[in-house]
């Protein structure tokens, strides 16, 4: 394909970026239990970050760079192995190690003393390797391989504390739900291959690729392929109703949750959709928008009623992923990626801060020998007195999540919602529902993030242990936990993404991705929407302050609606009853069928054979053996008779001899 010589250094840099975590993984896998420090993993990921930055500088705003080598030939089709670098890849390639480095450093303190820490570093490196590989590869088959690896690594990490029953259930669930998505991805690959005969991303989706030349392609197949790929992304990026694995995935270590939610696992789905965006036609995109909106709404509602600090964050991730899906669905995947990037930083920070809080609550639990859930918001309160820095950082991240001005979340969320409005205004009244719902979700987001902050850090402590204890075990996290959080906190602010804090239109990311929008920009919205959002946000935060910080909660926490929201509208129970029990029922039926029909047939056949063999055995023992035995018995009997002659008495011998002679004589005489 393209001549590779001028870019040789770039190629090696890409390979090194991807393979450094793999090397760390292999090294630690070989070292086993003795590799506890995590230094190989941290070194590898920092190396990846530096190389990725170099690559990004080289690739940014250049034409896409494509390396390709033949891999294997199957019949007439040759499969290629290769690397495709463009602005999207460059962005993500920097983002992943940039999020992973603070998480790694944070983990050195957070996971300190864990019995399985050698496994932790190993899995973490594998996870980073899989995600980095997913970003750079140039065809769908390789992408699928790395996609599976990401899923597998997350499975290992979610079930990291495998002695807990709930962790085992959670990673099984994550794996199974992701299988559904993988099936979608695989079907998508099959459709693409049968229609185009190639899986190469560059050949398919570049500006004059196969997809743009083929207008006779059956639109049904195109829609089917688009939806199949979207199902893949739905499972990975936790879209309703395949989101159920993500809240349960909180069973993993908090640092892992932050990585899954920020840069690696859930980002893979959005990245896939952006990478293969030209594939989606009008119908597929509409499905994506609707599912995204639905996800954003439901997850925001679920988040309102959660008490587990990590579950609130999990639902907020799902809700924000819904936003990104809407961004892809309206054709403005640049805003989706923009939101993915900003979201990665503040969500990572939120999780790390939550991890710090849980860490301290766990310490307190051990200190006072108490019996309470260290992740439950109802057990916290007033923590800002002991952890002011964590409180400030988490508050900052929450403001970014809520889309408050001067934060990165404001820029990306506004860009996304404005694009949605512009998209909807060209279509019709029904379509206006999507941006309207997104605004509602944004206000809900502000409310539940404020609820989280106020319940955890403000008000009076709810546990008795906080009163009258002189030397308190709850304190700020150590430097190796705090500094990564400070770094992420800085990344939550606007200057990293756009110099103008109130307008995303000048953001270097959006101009770098340069996605042609199918709808006209409406400038009036750029003032209207942000002001609406900020007003809504401020109002909801004020309400949350009244309700939670000042403890004037007016609602009944035990009402049916609240409980339903906490239980995700019973979707898990629904899944359990319909799918799990249904499949178990089918399995039982199949078992019965196997047991009684298939086995019955086999046993009937076996019985027949047994009967025939019994008959033949009888014939053998009685007829065949009988003949032989009879012959033998006859011989024995005869022999016995003749044996009598040999009695040792000389006279009888003589008689026999005489008799014979006498008979011989008689014969001679008479013959």
């Amino acid at each position: 394909m393209l001549a590779a010589t001028p870019h040789n250094t770039l190629l090696y840099a890409v390979i090194a970026t991807v393979c450094l975590p793999l090397l760390a993984f292999i090294y630690q896998a070989v070292k086993g239990r003795s590799a506890q420090t995590g230094i190989p993993s941290i070194t590898a990921i920092i190396g990846s970050l530096l190389l990725a930055s170099y690559i990004a500088v080289q690739v940014w705003n250049q034409p896409p760079i494509h390396f390709q080598y033949s891999w294997f030939t199957l019949g007439e089709n040759t499969f290629y192995i290769g690397i495709l670098l463009n602005n999207l890849t460059a962005l993500m390639l920097v983002l992943v190690p940039l999020i992973a480095v603070p998480v790694h450093i944070y983990s050195t303190a957070y996971m300190q003393g864990d019995a399985g820490i050698h496994r932790y570093w190993m899995y973490l490196s594998l996870f980073c390797f899989a995600m980095l590989g997913l970003l750079v590869v140039d065809n769908l088959l390789l992408m699928y391989i790395f996609w599976e690896l990401v899923g597998f690594a997350s499975y290992l990490l979610i079930g990291f504390w495998y002695t807990r029953e709930s962790a085992v259930q959670a990673n099984k669930k994550a794996f199974l739900i992701n299988r559904i998505g993988d099936l979608g991805f695989l079907i998508g690959i099959a459709i693409i291959f049968s229609e185009f005969g190639t899986l190469d991303l560059h050949a398919l989706f570049s500006e004059n690729g196969l997809l743009s030349q083929m207008d006779n392609l059956s639109s049904t197949w195109l829609t089917a392929a688009g939806i199949a790929f979207f199902i893949g992304a739905m499972a990975k990026s936790a879209q309703f109703p395949l989101h159920v694995w993500l809240p349960d995935a909180m069973e993993g270590p908090t640092a892992v949750s932050s990585l899954i939610h920020a840069a690696t696992m859930v980002a893979a789905g959005v990245f896939l959709l952006a990478r293969i965006f030209p594939l989606f036609n009008e119908h597929a995109l509409l499905v994506i928008s609707i599912v995204g909106t639905l996800t954003a709404c439901t997850a925001a509602c679920f988040a309102l009623a959660q008490y587990d600090i990590k579950k609130i964050l999990a639902y907020s991730t799902i809700s924000q992923l819904g936003y990104m899906m809407v961004g892809v669905g309206i054709g403005a995947y640049d805003t989706a990626i923009f939101h993915l990037l900003t979201h990665a930083f503040f969500k990572c920070l939120l999780f790390l801060a939550a991890g710090a809080v849980i860490h301290e609550m766990q310490h307190l639990k051990q200190h006072v020998q108490g019996d309470f859930d260290p992740q439950d918001l109802r057990n916290m309160g007033g923590l800002k007195r002991w952890m002011p820095k964590t409180a400030i950082l988490m508050g900052l991240a929450s403001l970014a999540l809520a889309g408050f001005p001067l934060t990165s979340g404001f820029l990306s969320k506004d860009a996304l919602i404005i694009s949605t409005f512009e998209w909807a205004s060209e279509r019709g009244l029904v379509y206006q529902l999507i941006p309207a719902l997104l605004i509602l979700v944004s206000i809900l987001t502000a409310f539940y993030s404020a609820r989280l902050i106020f319940k955890a850090f403000f008000g009076e402590p709810r546990l008795p242990y906080f009163h009258g204890v002189e030397k308190h075990p709850v304190h700020e996290p150590g430097a190796s936990m705090l500094w990564p959080m400070v770094f992420l906190g800085i990344c939550c602010l606007f200057p990293l993404f756009s110099l103008n804090p109130f307008s995303s239109s000048h953001s270097w990311i959006l101009s770098g991705l340069a996605v042609p929008h199918s709808f006209a920009a409406i400038h009036a919205l750029h003032l209207l929407i942000p002001s609406m959002l900020v007003t809504g946000t401020v109002l909801s935060i004020t309400l949350a302050w009244k309700w939670y910080a000042q403890d004037k909660y007016p609602l009944n926490a035990q009402s049916a609606l609240m409980l339903a929201a906490e239980k995700q509208f019973y979707i898990n129970e629904f899944n359990q009853r319909i799918w799990v029990n249904g499949i178990l029922g089918i399995a039982k039926g199949a078992y019965w069928l196997d047991r009684h029909i298939v086995d019955g047939l086999v046993q009937l056949f076996a019985g027949c054979v047994q009967y025939i063999s019994k008959v033949s055995s009888w014939v053998d023992t009685h007829i065949v053996d009988g003949l032989v035995n009879g012959l033998a018995a006859l011989t024995y009997w005869l022999g016995n008779i003749f044996r009598q002659a040999q009695n040792g008495k000389i006279q009888s011998y003589f008689l026999a001899a005489f008799f014979t002679l006498f008979m011989g004589l008689l014969y001679l005489i008479f013959s």
Binding site: R643, Q646, N647, G648, K649, I650, Q651, Y653, F654, L655, F658
Partner: protein
């Protein structure tokens, strides 16, 4: 007149007696006597048929040889019987069954 047939009849009778003695007696010496009777039956035949060889008297000569032979055989036989008696403490042939398989 006494023809050769009468000789042969007497000879056959003696022979039969000898056979009977060999087969039926419970004493080895009596069996030896039976053997002697058979030899004598044969000698009688030699002598009877000797009348047809009046030049050489082959029959009579052979009879003399046979008598000497019979005496020798009796001596040998008695010696064997003596040894058998020493060995088995009996000379009843029914009780000496070492030839059995």
């Amino acid at each position: 007149m006494i023809s050769i047939t009468h000789f042969l009849i007497v000879s056959a009778c003696i022979f039969s007696l000898g056979i009977y003695a060999i087969l039926a007696k419970r004493n080895a010496i009596m069996i030896l006597v039976g053997i002697e009777l058979i030899i004598n039956a044969a000698i009688l035949n030699f002598v009877a048929f000797g009348r047809y060889d009046k030049i050489h008297y082959g029959g009579q000569v052979f009879a003399l040889f046979a008598m000497v032979l019979a005496a020798a055989a009796v001596a040998v036989g008695l010696a064997i019987i003596l040894n058998v008696y020493r060995h088995y403490r009996t000379i009843n042939p029914d009780q000496i069954t070492d030839l059995k398989d």
